[in-house]
């Protein structure tokens, strides 16, 4: 067994008493082997902790999907970047309910045929959106939303695929309306404290990757 292999076996606790004594003597006499032994001990200790620490790294598929929607984009994402650069706080809202993926046990959010209801929340703010096929235009959708629990100043609905931004007029009770095309969407609610932004929303849902 060469010296490096001997040191490795020693650190792994695989040597007889006589071999271990030889390895200990080598470690004491040779700085290069002492360094190897120290590195191996640190590596083995990290590996020993790996199974326990690794569980903290687990991420659900649903959580990953939400993060996939936050990616930077040329043009369309620049506005949010500007909001951040301008020191306005940017907070991502969390998807609380989506009638498209809701099961039979959650009829309150399921909606009627052809319509979809999506609810986001962030702190005390709730962004509740209903999307229906447009009766006036083919391949368009009428969206009615309501922002509650926060002093919304304006709502910007962005069609991310084209970069088109709709500044939605806000009614006193927090309602807004907008007509959009199929694709990927993001809603930004501007408040005195900053911007609440939703993760990307694909509508119709079958367009999602």
């Amino acid at each position: 067994m060469d010296e490096r292999a001997l040191i490795t076996s020693w650190v792994m606790g695989e040597l007889s008493q006589a071999e271990a004594a030889r390895a200990a003597a080598l470690e004491a006499a040779r700085p290069d082997l002492a360094q190897l032994a120290a590195g191996l001990r640190a590596t083995a200790a990290a590996l020993g902790r790996a199974a326990r620490v690794r569980s903290g790294f687990e991420v659900s598929g649903e959580a990953l999907e939400r993060l996939y929607g936050l990616g930077p984009r040329q043009g369309a994402g620049a506005r949010v970047a500007r909001a951040v650069a301008g020191a306005a706080a940017l907070v991502m809202a969390r998807l609380r309910a989506d009638s498209w993926s809701a099961g039979a046990l959650t009829p309150a959010v399921r909606g009627e045929d052809g319509s979809r209801r999506v609810v986001y929340e962030s702190g005390g703010a709730v962004i509740d959106v209903r999307i229906d096929p447009s009766l006036a235009r083919l391949r368009a959708y009428e969206c009615v939303g309501c922002v509650q629990g926060v002093g919304a100043q304006r709502v910007v609905w962005t069609e991310l695929d084209s970069g088109a931004e709709h500044l939605c007029e806000l009614e006193a009770d927090g309602f807004f309306e907008v007509r959009v095309r199929p694709g990927r969407h993001r809603i930004d609610v501007h408040t005195p404290a900053g911007v609440i932004s939703t993760p990307d929303l694909w509508h119709p849902p079958e367009q999602a990757p």
Partner: protein
């Protein structure tokens, strides 16, 4: 694929590259939030805010190591902020020193684990699979089980493990030095 080109593609708006970046680092961000003992929904918020901030600042981040460090710092800051807010809404006082030290110790383990993952990724496939089977399962796997699953003769597992551990050590310690 080197992360440098992944970052460049992310900057150009490539959604596939962004997904790869999320796959590589979401675990780190969640681990940081969990180390602060935050509830699951708040960990989701920390992750979302951290990655949204990364997307907005991606032009400032230069390399693989920088992405990990940047996200770890941002997620730690977001976690402190969220924990403070939670304690305030629950009418509790500031976090006690014991909990803070425990979180710090856990963050050090997370950082070490992230380095270990990077080193593992740079191993050849045979070594990666063997060491994963030996160490990355909570129950540990028997030599017989590993032999059958990886198609390695049982007698070669010990020497292969030794060689792989030496190689992993070079990468792990080298990363620390770099």
């Amino acid at each position: 694929m080197p992360t440098q080109s992944l970052l460049e593609r992310c900057r150009a708006g490539d959604q596939g590259a962004w997904r790869s970046l999320v796959d590589a680092y979401a675990g780190l961000v969640y681990a940081v939030a969990r180390a602060h003992r935050l509830p699951a929904d708040v960990c989701d918020d920390v992750a979302q805010n951290s990655f949204a901030a990364l997307a907005a600042n991606i032009h400032r981040v230069q390399s693989d190591l920088a992405v990990a460090a940047w996200l770890r710092t941002t997620a730690t800051r977001e976690s402190w902020r969220a924990g403070k807010k939670l304690r305030r809404s629950a009418g509790a006082g500031p976090e006690d020193q014991g909990a803070e030290s425990a979180a710090e110790a856990e963050l050090e383990e997370i950082e070490e684990h992230q380095r270990l993952r990077r080193a593992m990724e740079r191993l050849d496939e045979r070594c990666r699979r063997l060491l994963s089977a030996l160490y990355f399962t909570s129950h540990g796997e028997s030599y017989d089980g590993i032999s059958a699953r990886l198609g390695l003769p049982r007698g070669s597992i010990g020497p292969t493990r030794q060689r792989c551990l030496q190689r992993l050590c070079e990468l792990f310690v080298g990363d620390d030095a770099g």
